[in-house]
Amino acid sequence: MNIVPGRGGRFLLALLPFVLILLVYMAGSAQRRAENPDDKLLPPFSEMAETAHRLAFEPDRRTEETVLWTDTGASLQRLALGLGIATLIGLVAGLSIGLLPAVGATFATLIAVISMIPPMAVLPILFIVFGLGELSKVVLIIFGVAPFLIRDLALAVGNLPAEQMVKAQSLGASTWQLAIRVVLPQIMPRLIEAVRLSLGPAFLFLISAEAIAADVGLGYRIFLMRRYLAMDVILPYVAWITLLAFVLDFALKQIAHRAYPWAYAQERR
């Protein structure tokens, strides 16, 4: 554990497994094409690039929209709404439950029970109640992510040292002042981290909901193309979704480190 790679070394090491995976794919793809020129399972990169270019820059013949961007826009809008509302709920509810014993006694068990309900199991209910439109997809993301955020933040509030609460009150802070000046800023880094961890589940719920009932969206497209075994569409889409998730995760990390430098002062690296 004492061999620590430098900055450039770390970058190269991080790159290495990606390069290996790409090489293995290229070899597999070339071999299958050699056996069967019509193979659909592992399309070569040239074919995928062609398809991706068509999806991203040429308007669809029927709808006259560029498919990739309409899909991305629709999906990101659902994701942003769902995650945004879930974050807000998580912050307010988590802070109240963690800070106020009376609120915690009332709602903590309820949240614990709700968080055990598999969100996909209530998707039919959401479709019935909220219809097949945007709302049910947004609500699914909220339902899947908010309980986790609430519990995580309530724990984070509970982990703040009791001494700090007493100290703030001895400086004259009311409960409200203590909540907004002492507790809120200290759980913000944890909130951002929890949202980062929720990105995966949020995408899962988004794509599941889109796969079941939608007429536009990244998940919808993938599941539509599955019928035609169109791996040349599916693979770039998966890569694109991964890239979106990665960029969101990275952006959140940067925001947390820029806005709350004190929270990362003790980190190992």
Binding site: K167, S170, G172, A173, I180, A265
Partner: protein, 266 residues
């Protein structure tokens, strides 16, 4: 005039009695050292004074009025750890006390009010010698500097009583001596009543004007929690005090090596 009166105070957790029969009158402006073995209820006593806990029986009066049973700005506190806010810079840590005072809704000051509060905060930081570190976060400060900051913060609201819970327990001896000099200076200049819980007998005698020892006087071998701790020693440490401290050579500075084991501890 006595700042704090304690009338027949008991603290019990279920069957376990922590404190019993405590009667004390603490004069305003005194420096009280509170000593006793571990588990004798020193910290519980401090929590009662803070209002973090309520007594099972008896009453605590602050300036003749019953103590509000929650922490408030009339009682400042410095703990051994976690006394400063890690998300605020040194200056903001003190400033926030003034913001709590003057801005009930936003807890944030603007314009002239903010500049005035910053000036007051800087004055306090200067008193504890932290003016050069005003823009650092507490994680960048040493343990001694963090305690200096905690003290400056605790004094911002001019509390009637300053409660110190082993404030220097985690510091190295050199830093501790500096802190003793600092706290003595501040106590003299602001005239607040100080109650300090400590494990360090030398510190207790060196700083205090009065020493109170808590311990259990009775012990039931079958039930350890049957009897609580009470005041076993109450010594006046002022030079002209009515109760002489027998055989004890009092030194003004604690680092000069005052003799320790004088049987003043049960």
């Amino acid at each position: 005039m006595s700042a704090i009166s304690i009338r027949n105070l008991w603290l019990e957790y279920g069957d376990q009695i922590v404190l019993e029969r405590i009667n004390l009158d603490i004069d305003a402006g005194g420096f009280i050292s509170l000593v006793g073995p571990s588990g004798a209820g020193k910290s519980s006593f401090l929590r009662l004074l803070l209002g973090q806990e309520r007594p099972s029986r008896g009453a605590i009066l602050l300036d003749g009025k019953p103590l509000r049973p929650e922490p408030g700005p009339d009682r400042g506190v410095v703990f051994q750890r976690y006394s400063v806010f890690p998300h605020l810079t040194v200056l903001e840590n003190v400033l926030v006390a003034f913001e709590f005072e003057s801005s009930p809704v936003l807890a944030w000051l603007f314009g002239k009010a903010r500049r005035d509060a910053i000036a007051k905060s800087e004055e306090l930081l200067e008193e504890v010698g932290l003016e050069a570190h005003r823009d650092k976060y507490p994680s960048a400060l040493s343990g001694g500097m963090q305690q200096r900051l905690a003290i400056a913060q605790a004094l911002a609201r001019r509390p009637r009583v300053l409660l110190l819970d082993e404030p220097f327990g985690a510091l190295d001896p050199g830093t501790r001596a500096q802190m003793h000099a600092l706290i003595r200076k501040l106590w003299r200049s602001c005239g607040t009543t100080v109650i300090m819980v400590t494990h360090d007998i030398k510190e207790a005698f060196g700083l205090g004007t009065r020493l109170i020892a808590l311990d259990r006087t009775r012990l039931d071998p079958q039930a350890a929690g049957r009897f609580g701790a009470t005041v076993t020693y109450d010594l006046d440490l002022r030079r002209d005090g009515p109760v002489p401290v027998l055989g004890f050579l009092k030194q003004p500075a604690p680092e000069n090596g005052a003799p320790m084991n004088q049987g003043n501890h049960p």
